[in-house]
């Protein structure tokens, strides 16, 4: 029986969420220990004869048994989850309480509680992401460090501090408090958005873990969507955005892991199922009056996904969407993307005008794709020499090997320009 490659990681997240509910957030470390014990046990036993027919249930039983041992042994020494204290005190109710907490729907809720708890507004975003990845997604410190190009020591410190903040709260997030949930959701959305972006834009051969971040972001957003409190129009917009980007990822990179230029991408590689799902979510997200940047970014991705080929892209619609995004969230990078779309829509001259008109243009000077955009427009005008200068400058600003290689290719394209 072949286990899905992410099985242990996924189960780690589920178990820790359930155990934290049982032990109380103050005993998060204990919950993690029990999870680790259960997984170690599984490794030790399954390696000889393979996983059992229901590996998830086996793990859960192992975790439950260990949890009960801990509860019995530490009953006098620690306080566990305050709201469960009564039920954990006696043998009579101990087993049934633990069983109830490990029921499938309960664990679903627990994961959501954990997610909302990890997105603590007092924690810096990097800390929220690190603790989500470790506690909810079962990533090790080295794996997180490799994904964010950080040192394991820095990640360890960040996670430890984050867990202190979590442990200091009286209890896990209360899903029943609609006001609290509504207040916390934007923080969760932002964290998941950042997680997705880290995986999407960081897709380089140097770290396979980054592709995993995209999967985790998708999984967590659908966890959010599965719950009535999480099913808001904004969550749908965010989920749509993720689906529509993730669907097109297979075409974005070539076998060597290098970025394929937009016009060269093979759309047959797109994941049709994810696109359909994304479009459904995009439609659903239109319900209600709220328009967030996620809505607009999802709509832009939707326009791209609707085009059968790159040349049939409705650039006019994209420009209008960027206008709306700029009104909501003015920034030079967004203005740059708008200018690029405008250049596609009305020609490189207009594109260059739009770039020249960007407010705060100076802030883009270190951004390689600003110089590259100028290069593309010069190339489109037939000015190979100017284009070459721009790409050379862009190359000097490249921040990693993937960017370097893709810019080198564009530079080479200037030497033998496309007709």
């Amino acid at each position: 029986m072949d286990l899905d490659g992410r099985f242990f990681r996924r189960e780690a997240g589920r178990l820790t969420a359930a155990l934290t509910r049982l032990f109380g957030v103050r005993n998060l470390a204990l919950a993690e220990d029990v999870t680790q014990d259960a997984l170690c046990r599984a490794l030790e036993v399954w390696k000889f004869h393979g996983p059992p027919p229901n590996p998830s249930a086996w793990l859960m039983t192992a975790a439950k048994n260990r949890a009960i041992d801990v509860l019995r042994r530490e009953r006098t020494a620690r306080t566990f989850a305050p709201e469960l204290a009564r039920w954990l005190e006696t043998e009579w109710t101990l087993r049934s309480t633990v069983d109830a907490l490990f029921a499938a729907d309960a664990i679903q809720d627990d994961q959501l509680r954990m997610m909302l708890s990890c997105c603590h507004p007092r924690l810096p975003e990097a800390a929220q992401l690190a603790v989500i990845l470790q506690v909810l997604c079962g990533f090790g410190v080295n794996e997180i460090a490799s994904a964010f190009l950080d040192s394991p020591a820095a990640v360890e410190k960040r996670v430890t501090r984050a867990k202190k903040v979590l442990a200091a709260s009286r209890s896990l997030f209360d899903l029943g408090d609609a006001g609290e949930v509504a207040a916390r959701l934007p923080v969760v959305h932002r964290a998941l958005y950042l997680l997705f972006n880290e995986g999407y834009h960081g897709a380089s051969p140097e770290s396979a873990v980054r592709g995993e971040l995209v999967q985790e972001a998708l999984r967590l957003v659908s966890l959010l969507l599965d719950h009535p409190t999480g099913q808001t129009a904004s969550t749908r917009a965010l989920a749509a955005l993720m689906c529509l980007h993730a669907a097109r990822m297979p075409a974005r990179l070539d076998e060597a892991g290098d970025l394929t230029p937009f016009f060269d991408q093979d759309r047959a590689l797109w994941d049709g199922g994810l696109i359909a799902q994304g479009r459904r979510l995009l439609d659903q997200s239109a319900a209600g009056a709220e328009v967030t940047p996620y809505h607009i970014e999802a709509a832009i991705a939707g326009v791209h996904a609707a085009a059968p080929s790159a040349s049939e892209t409705d650039w006019g619609a994209i420009v209008r969407l960027y206008d709306a995004l700029l009104a909501l969230r003015p920034s030079p990078v967004v203005a740059l993307h708008r200018a690029i779309a405008l250049g596609q829509h009305l020609g490189p001259e207009r594109g260059l005008e739009a770039i020249a008109a960007i407010e705060g243009r100076e802030r883009l000077e270190q951004y390689p794709f600003y110089a590259a955009a100028l290069g593309e427009m010069e190339l489109a005008r037939g000015r190979a020499d100017s284009a070459r200068d721009r790409f050379r400058h862009a190359l000097s600003l490249a921040r990693n090997p993937t960017e370097r290689r893709s810019l080198e290719k564009r530079l080479a394209a200037c030497r033998s320009p496309r007709p």
Binding site: R9, L43, H49, E143
Partner: protein, 111 residues
């Protein structure tokens, strides 16, 4: 052909990530499967629980244990090989070494 017992000691530290643990499990399963397909496995063996009882000495003193994590035997496999040299060679592919463990290769005494 002679028989040999592989006694596995040590290995993982308990601080490995879930992904690392799953990979390690896959390695073990592949290794044992491969040995089995080549006809070297008499009995794939069993994992052993950490704690138990130790009964020792003339007094048959019973204590809880053994608990020494580093040298604890965590499992065994009964192997068939031409000789000790081959059995030892076969043990080299054991995944226990990834994390610094050991394999004790003990010939079964012949009658």
């Amino acid at each position: 052909m002679s028989q040999f017992l592989f006694l596995y000691r040590g290995g993982m530290t308990g601080t490995e990530s879930p992904a690392e643990m799953q990979q390690q499990m896959q390695r073990w399963m592949s290794w044992l499967k491969d040995l089995g397909e080549k006809g070297f496995v008499k009995d794939p063996g069993q994992p052993l629980e950490r704690g138990g009882k130790v009964v020792s000495g003339k007094q048959k003193l019973v204590t809880d244990g053994p608990f020494a994590e580093k040298d604890l035997v965590s499992g065994f496999t009964l192997v068939e090989a031409a000789d000790l040299a081959q059995a030892t060679e076969l043990s080299m592919g054991c995944p226990v070494f990834t994390y610094g463990g050991a394999v004790e290769v003990r010939p079964i005494a012949k009658m």
